[in-house]
């Protein structure tokens, strides 16, 4: 049963070097979950051959533009493309207010039902329970209210007794507060905006360094770490990877258009890429 993460954006607040802002598709058994939706996400979906009509759940971590400015356009396009199925959107309560105001001025009456579920910036909460998958939101530590998301497989075919899990942490200062929520995940996506030489800037802006992301992965008992949200100051994110690997060997760089499998078994110490 497929469980993978397709990266749509690896950049941070300002666009640089053709990188796109944060967005990714979690594909669990062909059920598609969109996690964050920076500007241009609908074009990225189209570029990588993902029909947006297949997405039924959208998770927005926080209301900095590089994590949600693509959402109004995506919702409008779903409407114009005749979507009928409910769409579930999870995020800060202010998100609904922004969308409602935009739809008011565009005089848009969505043809489908947008089911909005506010997330809590204070406590971990199960926000979605499906037959084989449960999604938890949990507080991160950023300049505005921000939540991470954890996807837990709850039931797997009998020959695979181990269930798999994926956690998404962006944007956040690395700290112990979310350690329980991400404990023992098979794959951890953690922002690594800066190299550790910029730790002062990371602390100031409530972001993490690659080294810190690796320390989090190590302490949480994650099996694999996926780095992303690279600052515009880095043309090449490779040094971020080298830095992370000094602490946590099973680190990889998120790459736009690349799918990363959420695996409980690894071969040759390499992250198995399923794409």
């Amino acid at each position: 049963m497929k469980f993978e993460v397709l990266i749509l954006g690896t950049g941070s607040a300002t666009p640089a070097y053709g990188r796109h802002p944060s967005a990714q598709i979690v594909n669990f058994n062909e059920e598609l979950f969109l996690v964050d939706c920076g500007e241009g996400t609908q074009m990225q979906l189209s570029r990588f051959g993902i029909r947006s009509g297949r997405i039924n759940h959208v998770f927005i971590s926080h209301l900095h533009g590089d994590h949600y400015f693509g959402l109004p356009g995506l919702l409008s396009s779903m409407h114009l493309n005749g979507r009928k199925n409910d769409l579930h959107v999870y995020g800060h309560p202010g998100l609904k207010e922004v969308l409602d105001l935009q739809f008011k001025y565009s005089e848009t009456q969505l043809k489908y039902n947008l089911v909005f579920r506010p997330t809590s910036p204070d406590n971990p909460e199960t926000i979605l329970q499906m037959p084989r998958m449960r999604v938890l939101s949990f507080p991160l530590h950023h300049r505005v209210p921000c939540t991470g998301f954890r996807f837990d497989e709850t039931l797997r075919a009998s020959k695979h007794p181990a269930t798999r899990s994926y956690a998404y942490c962006s944007d956040t200062r690395a700290f112990s507060g979310y350690m329980d929520a991400i404990r023992n995940v098979d794959l951890l996506y953690h922002e690594s905006t800066f190299l550790h030489e910029m730790v002062g800037r990371a602390a100031e802006t409530l972001h993490s360094t690659a080294l810190e992301a690796a320390q989090v992965a190590d302490r949480a008992g994650a099996k694999k770490l996926l780095l992303g949200h690279y600052s515009a100051r880095y043309k090449d994110p490779e040094p971020l990877l080298r830095e992370a690997r000094t602490v946590f060997r099973e680190s990889e760089l998120a790459v736009e258009g690349k799918a990363f499998g959420v695996m409980d078994v690894f071969f040759n110490g390499q992250l198995t890429v399923d794409n």
Copy 2:
């Protein structure tokens, strides 16, 4: 003295065939005016080598997403890139409300002064007067309040007694109401969402056909017509051009990344492309 229009987006409401939503740069003597700002405009600017810091005036025709969903991201990036100069934004009063709400939730205090000037959906108005350039907004006829913009050169070097003018009409049902505002322009950009075989759909959605855009250009005494805002149903916009030319020979297709000169003299009956 340069006077040209660089096309950043030629698509309409839903993205298709790699086309981007509406946006263009009017370059008058290296003063850059941004006209509409669909999703992804900041990436298009970067792709075509335009530093967004050079833009001091942004004109938004109306509050359908494909004309402004790129603006919040562009304004945020200008802020993050340390902009200090005032930025003048012209549009429907609701635009300010949307931006303010987004900045409230992102807890953004812009480092520069955003000077917002509401446009009137009811009457033509001079909204900007510079030493050599005057900009007029004028009502169009669309499903939500919508204005076109006319750029008039007011003073030219003495050896060129003729001043030049450019008008932008998107989105609108072709009608006589804005004829005076676009009279005798050297270059007219007019939306041509559909072929005339879809005129029923054009009337229903308050858009124009290529044939109608050409009729408008002809009746207004425009020297050249630039077509754009192509429906996602057309992979190739060439038939739109052929249709327009049956009525108005000096028609051209807007092409992303291409600059079209605003000229008062034409050579060999061809639109002189200055890029």
